[in-house]
Every structure is written in C-alpha cells, then in structure tokens.
Amino acid sequence: MLEQITIFLENKPGTLLEVAKKLADGGINIRTLSMADTADYGVLRLIVDDAAKAAEVLKNNGFTANRATVIAVEVPDSSGGMAQILLPLQEAGINIEYLYAFVEKSGHNAVIIFRFDDPPKAYKVLQENGITVVEGEKLYKL
C-alpha cells in the first residue's frame, strides 16, 4: 500500500506552479503524478518521497491536500502484462476508480498506481495471485 497526496486545485493560471514551489521549498521530490481535470477545477494526485511532510507543507500553505491510499503494481513491460493483473481483480469484483502509470528507471517494468474501491481487498487479491505490489517504502525511494 502506498500513500498519495491529493490536492484540490482551482482552474486558474499559477496554481500548479504554487504547489511545485512549496514542495520544492520543503525539499520534497515528486515520484510521479496525475491530474484529473474538470472545467472548473482539477484534482492533482502526487506520489512523493515523503507523503506526511508534503501534506503538512501544503496544508500550512493553505492548500486542500489530503492523503489517500493507493496501490502500486509492477507490470512486466511486455504484451499481456496489464491483462494479467486485471483479470484476478475483475474475478474478485474489484472496481478501479482511477489509475496512472510510469516506467521504472531501469526501464524493464512499468508501475501502475491504482485507486481501488476496496484497497485492502485488492491488496489481498494481488498478493494471492503473485502480482508484485510495490510497497511505499520502496517506491518513495525510487
């Protein structure tokens, strides 16, 4: 399991820059991110090296930032890699709320960050099916 920082951002110029600056000032490094956007606002999702500190820094600077539980899964960078992971989840009736992905520095594997409707159950299903879940500690330090 993994902690993600979730930030509510109004859709106007400069708000994202402000987040980046505050995180930089706090010495926080962003591992990966995704942005969900609507016409009026966006929700920025960040995986950083220190989630607790990032949340604190952002909150102290007036941002609406919260921590949420997500799960990172290592996917072989080959044909069928994604399907192999999704099948057991589908069989267990687990729903994906959103996901985003990045490629590890080594370049052999992709990492997909999932938000499931039931994180503990999803975690268990993945474990049982021998799928590599990247724990927070490892990912924060990637």
């Binding site: 993600q4 979730t6 509510f8 109004e10 609507t38 606002y41 929700v43 609406t64 949420a68 709320e97």
Partner: protein, 436 residues
C-alpha cells in the same frame, strides 16, 4: 384604448372617496375574519373605525412577506375555503411558499383588470394573444389568459418553454400580441433569427412584458428585434398577480396602477415613513376589492417612484416608474423569484459543501445565468481519495436540488476551502453583473 373609462378616468376626488370607502370595508373585514390582522391592529391600538381618511392609513401596521410565510398556507384567507375557487403560490420558494386564494368574484375582478391591461396595449377582441407566461401555480399564465378571454381576444395558451414551437406558432397562427418576460422576448427573437425566421416580419404588434425588472435599453432592443411596441406590466401574486399596473400605449412612460382596486403608497424602506409622490421609495399596496386574500399595507420591497402628472391617455390613475431595485436581497432570475437565503437552505442539505458561497448573476445573450460558487468540504475531499466523481456527485445533487426546490437552473462551481470571501457583519454574497 380604455376598457373601463368610468373607473379608469374617475376624477381623483371621486377616486379617493371610492378608495376610502373600500379601504374601510377591507379593514373591517380583515379585522373580523383574519386573526393576524386582529392581533396586528390590536397591538397598534387601532380599530378599523380609526380609518377616517386615507391619511389615517399611515398609522396602520405593515404586512410583510414573512407574515405571509408565518401564516402558511391559508391563515390569512378572509373567506372560507368553500368560497375560494382558485389557489396560486408565489414562484420559487422552499417549503413555505406564499399561497394566495381567489373567490369567483376575485377572478372576475382580476380578469377585468387584465382586460384593462390589454386594452391599454391597444388590443381588442379582434386580436390574438400569444401567452407565454407559465401556466400553473405562477399567476402569470392564468392571469393573462382570463384577461384575454374577458376582452374577447383569441388566446394561445402557450406557457413557457419549447421555444422552437413557439416560433412556429408565432409564424403560423400570426398572433398580434405576446405576453412573456422581457428576457424571453429577446430569447425568442434570437432563436428565431438562428432558425432563419424574419422575426420583424411577424404579425406581432405589441408585447405585454413583465415579471422581472428591465430597462429602457432593453425595451429598445426588444422593439427593434421584434418590430413591436414593448409595454411594461407589473404585478405580484400577493396583491393579485399580473395586472396591478400597466403601461399605456399612448404614454409609454410609467405604469398606471389600477387605483380603484389597489391603494398604493411609497415609503422609506428604513423608517417606514410615507413619502410624497415623486420620491423614490418602496411600494406598499393595500387591496381594495379582493375578497379571499385582502392585504393591508403589504410591503413589496420593490423600489420605484410614483407620478401623479396627468397622462396623455386620459387615465387619472397614478403611474409608477420602472422598478429600480429592491429593498431586500431577492433575485429575479429568468422570472423566478429567489432569495439567497433559500439557495443557502438548499445548500445546507447537501453534504460535502461548506456554508460559504457566492452567487454570480449574469446575462448571456438574453438569458439570466446563475453561478453558485461553493467551497468543497475538507473532510469530504479527504474521503474522496482524489476521485472526481465524488465531487461531481455533489455538484449534480446541488444542481438538481436547486432546480427541484427553487425552480432555478444554476451552474455549480466548487472552489477550494477557505477561498471565498468571509464577511463580518452583513454578508454580500451576490454579484449581479446584469445590466438592467
């Protein structure tokens, strides 16, 4: 044209004598039949008999909108329900609407007054009237309808909405007059043009427009777009509905209040003091002919000026100028009356939003728009785990509730917590960008 010359051209001394006689009767009736008025007169130490001249009315207490709400639904009725043949309710209120009732004779009176309005617009039984005021609890539709029939004109009971169809009937039936809100008149003109219809070539000759404030500039626009005379009509359901006052085609400068049915005063909204004609103040009406729902000194919150100068049309009835604003914070959005407090009440019932909001009222083209900016609740955002659908669910719910409870279509915009302005003392949560 004058529908009822006898009453509409009554010399003022006779008119005032008639008003006093009728007012005395109404005061006696409400004192006997409506507990609210008995209490309110008693508290002021007054009896109906203390009304010896029209000037004595200034001593009597006001009736406020809140009094109507407190007596919801029927406690202000002065007739038993068996005598009431029709109910209407004010547009756009949560829970406690203001409900009004009419006896058979009230409907007759109202129809007569609306017929006077149409005649003032130059209409006769040879005309066809396209009535696009909403039919239903709102007084606009049925009020205009009965008046048109009373006049003997042919009425198209169109009601609101379905704009394309309206434009089709405007071409095919070729009505000579239209009743609607001024903004809807502009909307019809715009949409007609988009459909490739020459809206200036329709047979329409006159528009009887009201239910929302509008300006001389807008009159010019409407007259130009539809090639008609655009006349202003005024009314409110508490007092009767449309047909409390109407502009005459001849003068086109202020609305004649039918003073044989309504006694009007203007007051200083702060002190309650009665003002002289010509001074800007809040309109206060006492009904003189209503049976089921008579009111004494009802504060409309509408701000305008009275003009006693003789009019070219020959009517002796006083004219009111355009409504210049309100002494409360009521908004009129596409003809629907709504108070910010009502929007707030709806919002409080939607979990996930903070009680901090801003209302932005604007006009796009000819249509009013309302944007509700509301702060997302931090705890809810935390719980959402970054799922947009949770936030969108709140927006949707809020939008639906505003439509269901208040009848208004609003854009809901979520903003970050603690970003909206905080107020000390009187909050100013409304930004009205409309140019009226």
């Amino acid at each position: 044209m004058i529908h009822n010359p006898e009453f509409e051209m009554l010399p003022r001394p006779e008119l005032e004598a008639l008003q006093l006689k009728r007012l005395q009767q109404v005061a006696q009736k409400v004192y006997n039949n409506v507990p609210f008025y008995k209490d309110s007169f008693d508290k002021a130490g007054l009896k109906p008999q203390d009304l010896r001249s029209l000037a004595d009315l200034a001593k009597f207490p006001f009736t406020n909108k809140q009094d109507l709400r407190d007596n919801y639904p029927f406690k202000l009725f002065a007739e038993p329900m068996s005598a009431v043949v029709r109910l209407h309710a004010s547009s756009g209120t949560t829970g406690r609407a203001t409900v009004v009732g009419y006896t058979k004779r009230d409907i007759e009176t109202w129809s007569e007054l609306m017929a006077r309005c149409f005649a003032a617009a130059g209409l006769t039984n040879k005309d066809m009237i396209h009535n696009a005021y909403g039919y239903g609890l709102f007084t606009g539709g049925l009020g205009a309808h009965y008046g048109a029939e009373k006049l003997g004109a042919s009425v198209i009971p169109m009601s609101g909405g379905n704009t394309k169809r309206q434009i089709m009937l405007l071409q095919d039936f070729a009505p000579t007059a239209i009743c609607c809100t001024p903004s809807y008149a502009l909307n019809l003109a715009e949409q007609g043009r988009e459909m490739g219809v020459d809206m200036r070539a329709l047979k329409l000759r006159v528009g009887i427009l009201g239910a929302e404030p509008w300006s001389e500039e807008m009159r010019g626009e409407i007259e130009d777009a539809l090639n008609i005379d655009a006349l202003n009509i005024y009314g409110l359901s508490e007092i009767m509905g449309p047909g409390v006052s109407m502009e005459c085609l001849e003068g086109k400068n202020g609305l004649h209040i039918f003073e044989d049915s309504f006694l009007v005063e203007t007051i200083d909204p702060k002190t309650g003091e009665v003002l002289k004609p010509g001074e800007e103040g809040e309109l206060v009406f006492s009904t003189l002919t209503k049976e089921a729902f008579p009111l004494i000194r009802y504060r409309t919150r509408d701000i305008c000026r009275l003009n006693l100068d003789p009019c070219v049309c020959g009517r002796t009835h006083v004219r009111m100028g355009r409504v210049m604003g309100r002494s409360d914070d009521m908004l009129i959005i596409r003809g629907v009356n709504v108070f910010p407090s009502q929007i707030e009440a709806v919002m409080m019932n939607v979990s996930g939003v903070e009680p901090h909001y801003q209302l932005i009222v604007d006009r796009e083209g000819s249509l009013d728009t309302l944007e509700v900016q509301v702060e997302v609740n931090d705890a809810l955002f935390a719980k959402s785990g970054g799922e947009i659908k949770v936030l969108q669910g709140i927006e949707k719910k809020l939008k639906k509730d505003l439509k269901d409870y208040l009848g208004i279509s609003a854009q809901v915009k979520m903003v970050a917590p603690k970003t909206l302005q905080r107020f000390e003392g009187k909050a100013n949560r409304v930004t009205d960008k409309r140019k009226i």
